[in-house]
């Protein structure tokens, strides 16, 4: 069953003047932030949120989605030119992109990255069109136990898949849940953890958290690296790629568009994991794997296709289940809730223009990105020459104005600063911040679905296990939590054995 009228109304929205303008603004800002090593897509979206408050929700999501895939698209440029990934999802791009640039083929590397990203981004939107409605129609039968299990799986999956230690990521998620319990409890009206402050009654706004934990903390990273990277725009060279080059790209592009999309759909995984998996699988497939890491075209194409495919994949759970699987989509969900849009299985039927408009606009956004990142890249990359000290001051001002314009409260600004310090400490001790923000956004819904399920069952916990779907999801959550622990235990044991030998 294909909803042609919905697709048509989405297309109409996407090709309206407003639709085109805001998708352009989105991808342009995304490219800009993506270029800046240190600033990630979460900060970019959070900074844009105040602009969206009086906007039509569809246009707002079109723009925020543009920022997201634009940042991943643009992040490759600094990976290639500076060996400093603009965003985490483009780390693997630097493995072969930077060696190519060092061989004087920066232009070619940029062109390959842009084409690979365009193909990955566009092909995966086709998959998004096909799979999101299917998942929606399945998810429509989900009740509170299934939702609770699904959210729990999302949290354990992001913890086990995020870089570094799983236990740290889980603790980070628990801290996120703690912060979201501050304020009046929606069901009982109990005032929780406010220390008598009237300012905390409504809880802490998610924008304060996102800007503090991500943008302000990233400012500190910028301070540390403020003199590290310099860039000379003259060194890009020709953007031409030959027929032979393109032939080499076809294989990785076709495989990684699919694989990247699938990884993007999975909870917890995203552009970063997709790009690493893309890189390693192509290395395994390659006839001469020794070339990888020395400027291989395949090695550059694979992660660039995969990470862009994963960004569209990440929209599948967000749009069809209403459950974000990553930090970035969690922030988008937060913004949508403020605009009174509840994504979920009913979104496609109740608000087809938004559902299909966002998807359709991605085709247009990818075309804009190809133009921005291919013919215009020598000009765009001059952005990298913006002095870091100035950028740092400007980001702080954007954070302040962002929070102030939604709450008009100086108190919230102090909270923002406090979370900036917390975010910086988390970064220093390598506690991943994505599980924190995901748990913060999901925390309220998690508690609500837990309560609903328990009310339905008459206070009987077995409802989560007697229901086959939620039992499966909970089992998966347990596996995703226990597997990395077991793995690290086994590695330790092996290490000890080799040491004693």
């Amino acid at each position: 069953m294909i909803d042609f009228s919905g697709i048509l109304s989405g297309l109409q929205m996407a090709i309206s003047l407003e639709g085109i303008l805001f998708v352009f603004i989105g991808v342009f800002v995304g490219t800009f932030i993506g270029l800046m090593p240190g600033l990630g897509p979460i900060s970019a979206i959070a900074i844009m949120i105040p602009m969206t408050y009086n906007m039509d929700p569809t246009i707002a999501l079109v723009m925020m989605a543009g920022v997201y895939y634009g940042a991943i698209f643009g992040g490759s440029t600094s990976s290639i030119l500076l060996n400093a990934p603009g965003v985490a999802g483009t780390v693997a791009t630097s493995f072969d992109g930077y060696p190519m640039a060092q061989q004087g083929k920066a232009g070619k590397a940029l062109a390959i990255a842009a084409i690979a990203a365009f193909i990955g981004g566009t092909v995966s939107v086709v998959f998004l069109m096909l799979f999101a409605p299917v998942l929606s129609s399945v998810a429509i039968q989900f009740g509170p136990p299934e939702y609770f299990a699904l959210m729990l799986l999302g949290l354990t999956a992001i913890a086990s898949l995020s870089s570094g230690s799983t236990i740290k990521a889980l603790m980070s998620a628990l801290l996120g849940i703690m912060v979201v319990t501050i304020g009046i409890d929606a069901q009982t009206g109990t005032v929780r953890f406010t220390f008598g402050s009237a300012n905390l009654l409504e809880g802490i706004d998610f924008l304060v958290i996102a800007l503090g934990i991500f943008a302000l903390a990233e400012v500190c990273a910028l301070i540390i690296n403020r003199q590290k990277t310099t860039f000379n725009a003259k060194t890009i060279g020709s953007l031409k790629i030959t027929k032979e080059d393109f032939k080499e790209m076809v294989g990785p592009m076709s495989r990684q568009s699919v694989l990247g999309f699938i990884i993007g759909v999975l909870p917890g995984a995203g552009a970063t994991i997709a790009s690493f998996i893309g890189y390693t699988t192509e290395k395994r497939f390659a006839k001469n794997p020794d070339e990888f890491g020395k400027g291989s075209i395949k090695g550059l194409t694979a992660p660039e296709t995969a990470n862009n495919a994963a960004t569209s994949g990440a929209f599948v759970p967000l749009l069809s289940l209403g459950i974000p699987g990553s930090g970035t989509t969690a922030v988008m969900l937060g913004a949508l809730l403020v605009l009174n849009v509840q994504p979920g299985p009913l979104l496609m039927t109740e608000n087809p223009t938004l559902f299909w408009g966002v998807i359709m606009s991605m085709y247009i956004g990818n075309i804009f990105l190809l133009i921005l990142n291919l013919p215009l890249i020598p000009y765009i990359s001059k952005i990298l020459a913006i002095p870091r000290p100035m950028l740092i001051s400007l980001v702080v001002v954007f954070c302040i104005i962002g929070v102030y314009s939604i709450s008009f409260s100086i108190f919230d600004l102090y909270v923002l600063l406090a979370f900036g310090v917390i975010g910086y400490l988390m970064r220093m001790f390598q506690f991943p911040a994505a599980p924190f923000i995901l748990a913060f956004i999901l925390g309220g819904m998690l508690e609500q679905s837990f309560r609903q399920a328990m009310t339905i069952s008459g206070n009987d916990v077995s409802i989560f296990i007697s229901n086959p779907l939620s039992a499966t999801l909970l089992a998966l959550a347990a596996v995703s939590f226990l597997f990395p622990l077991w793995q690290s235990y086994r590695n330790k044991k092996n290490n000890n054995q080799t040491l004693s030998m």
């Binding site: 628990l174 849940i177 703690m178 109990t190 929780r192 002095p387 100035m390 740092i392 314009s405 309560r451």
Partner: protein
């Protein structure tokens, strides 16, 4: 047993969890709800304690990369502290002196403090960006930014 960095971190987390639980146990309860307002906080608090204790006893060895990440700010700590203090002052003065004046001063001083020496470019940017933001928020987004003692 040496007090390593990760043990220190886990002790701090245990203290946070205990404090949170202490508050959670003081929450009033209602008779007619199946799951009261204190259930999820209590579960969360206990889980954090369990994980922190587990983390305390884990044989974590800091890798070189992790150590570098933790200590890379060493030479720049005064810049980071300075940035936080200036942001604090910026927030405190925002409603007193207004968005325009405070932001212009903040961008100029902060950029200079972090080592950018071209004062001409710095002055132009620190005036134009806040002005642009002020005008677009006031007239395009209909958001009133604080004016402080200034008439606009």
């Amino acid at each position: 047993m040496a007090l390593t960095v990760h043990r220190g971190v886990s002790i701090v987390l245990i203290i946070i969890a205990i404090f949170y639980l202490y508050l959670a146990f003081q929450l009033p309860s209602f008779m007619n709800t199946v799951i009261d307002a204190d259930t999820i906080p209590k579960i969360t608090g206990f889980l954090l304690i369990i994980l922190s204790v587990l983390y305390f006893f884990m044989p974590v060895k800091e890798t070189e990369v992790e150590k570098e990440k933790r200590t890379e700010a060493k030479n720049d700590w005064h810049y980071i502290l300075g940035m936080f203090i200036m942001t604090f002052l910026y927030i405190t003065l925002l409603e007193v002196s207004g968005f325009l004046v405070t932001s212009i001063v903040f961008i100029f001083v902060c950029t200079r403090m972090l080592g950018y020496k071209k004062w001409k470019t710095n002055s132009i940017v620190s005036v134009l960006v806040p002005l642009f933001l002020y005008l677009s928020f006031t007239f395009l987004l209909n958001v009133r930014l604080p004016t402080g003692f200034m008439p606009f």
